[in-house]
């Protein structure tokens, strides 16, 4: 164990400044003292520990590097990646939205079928309920409009018919609706239905339709009270 490393054999040490001969001799003799060298175990332990320390250092630097400019850039990249993933996931949810739209469409179709079924029902109360529900659909669904018009023209129950006339009245300007309703006015026998149709023409009718109504009221084809109502209304609001 006792050995002097070659690198230190010729080390002269600091300048020895004593004038004492005995001390000078001691100074010289010191150089020849045997020097223990550490075991190889020390070297192995050191390099093992150095490796561990190096790993810890790199782990810490990786964390710290997150706050450096490249680290922030990487973080921004992660954020962008997250946004992109979000967009992708959002797009992937589009089919779910379309499925919901399809479902809503199916519900709308079912509702439409239900309304049409009710308008065609044998039950007057169901037809009346169908008329009320159809008033919202008639403007965008020709088939519902056609079914509603049928109820307005020739439903055998006056309450259903007058309800249908009230619902379809705002679309009197539509040629198909206008022609049908004006024709039914000439055929209607019930004073209640005549009154509903006359009020509809008075409210929504074109000048031609008002003129036609006025002529009907003058020919005796309308109930006298309805005719009087039309004449008085037209006299208050001339065409």
């Amino acid at each position: 164990m006792s050995d002097k490393p070659p690198s230190e054999k010729h080390k002269s040490g600091v300048p020895f400044e004593s004038d004492d001969a005995g001390e000078q001799q001691l100074w010289r003799d010191l150089e020849d003292l045997p020097q223990e060298v550490p075991s190889q175990r020390l070297r192995r332990r050191f390099y093992d520990e150095l490796e561990h320390a190096d790993r810890r250092l790199h782990r810490r630097r990786r964390w710290l590097s997150l706050f450096s400019a490249p680290g922030l850039a990487a973080a921004m990249g992660c954020v962008l990646l997250g946004v992109m993933i979000g967009v992708v996931l959002r797009n992937s949810s589009v089919p779910q939205h379309s499925e919901l739209a399809q479902l809503q469409q199916q519900v709308a179709l079912l509702n439409r079928s239900l309304v049409l079924d009710r308008l065609d029902s044998d039950s007057a109360s169901k037809r009346l309920l169908g008329v009320i529900e159809a008033s919202d659909l008639a403007g965008r669904d020709p088939e519902v409009m056609r079914a509603l018009l049928e109820r307005a023209v020739d439903d055998r129950v006056h309450s259903v018919r007058t309800a249908a006339i009230d619902a379809i009245g705002p679309r009197l300007g539509t040629p198909a609706v206008g022609n049908e309703l004006m024709a039914s006015l000439e055929k209607a026998e019930s004073p209640l239905v005549q009154l509903a149709l006359a009020d509809m023409v008075l409210r929504y009718g074109s000048p031609n339709q008002l003129e036609q109504l006025l002529q009907l009221s003058q020919t005796g084809k309308l109930h006298p009270d309805v005719a009087q109502h039309v004449k008085s209304s037209v006299s208050r609001n001339p065409v």
Partner: protein
């Protein structure tokens, strides 16, 4: 002449290249071990302290300012580590006794009837060195075996160069008087 200076190596360690510490280890671990051995008189403790010294260097590499030599700075850290150990173990009061035992071991190992008179004289020097106080022993050891100028010695000891000169002078006086007492006569010139 070393291709890369200690100062450059410790700078690279500070910059994160821990492998450079290996080069510093190869250059200085024996000297540090022998220095610690002079203070602790224990091989196992000295090896532990060398390990601690280099771990400290890894942690403190960035604190090296280059005011003095890197070697002096390393030995200053070694000195702090060694004295911390001595304080913790409360060994400063018993260090000289252990030193005697260690010195006796060296003497016993070498002082046979067959060894030359010069070697016997050398063993007496070793015993005397082991007997003087640790503070004196470390100055002599560092001044004799580690550093070649008082500036670096002072850097390691944490004092001024003139204070290092004074401490060296007193330490050698102590060694000389101890040697004479042990030898019975003044050393031959």
């Amino acid at each position: 002449m070393q291709a890369v200076s200690d100062e450059q190596l410790i700078q690279w360690v500070a910059d994160g290249d821990a492998s450079c510490l290996g080069t510093l280890f190869e250059r200085h671990h024996r000297s540090i071990y022998q220095y610690c051995l002079q203070l602790t008189r224990s091989s196992a403790a000295s090896e532990d302290l060398v390990q601690d010294v280099f771990l400290k260097l890894l942690q403190k590499a960035s604190s090296f300012r280059g005011d003095g030599s890197c070697k002096a700075w390393i030995f200053h850290i070694a000195r702090n580590v060694a004295f911390d150990y001595l304080r913790r173990a409360d060994r400063r009061t018993t260090i000289d006794d252990e030193g005697d035992e260690n010195a006796n071991r060296l003497v016993d190992h070498r002082s046979t009837e067959q060894v030359a008179a010069a070697e016997q004289n050398l063993n007496l020097v070793a015993r005397a060195l082991a007997e003087i106080p640790a503070a004196a022993r470390e100055v002599i050891w560092l001044g004799r075996f580690v550093f070649e100028d008082y500036e670096d010695l002072a850097g390691a000891l944490g004092c001024t160069a003139s204070a290092a000169r004074v401490r060296m002078h007193r330490a050698m006086q102590q060694l000389h008087s101890t040697f004479m007492r042990m030898n019975g006569v003044p050393i031959d010139v």
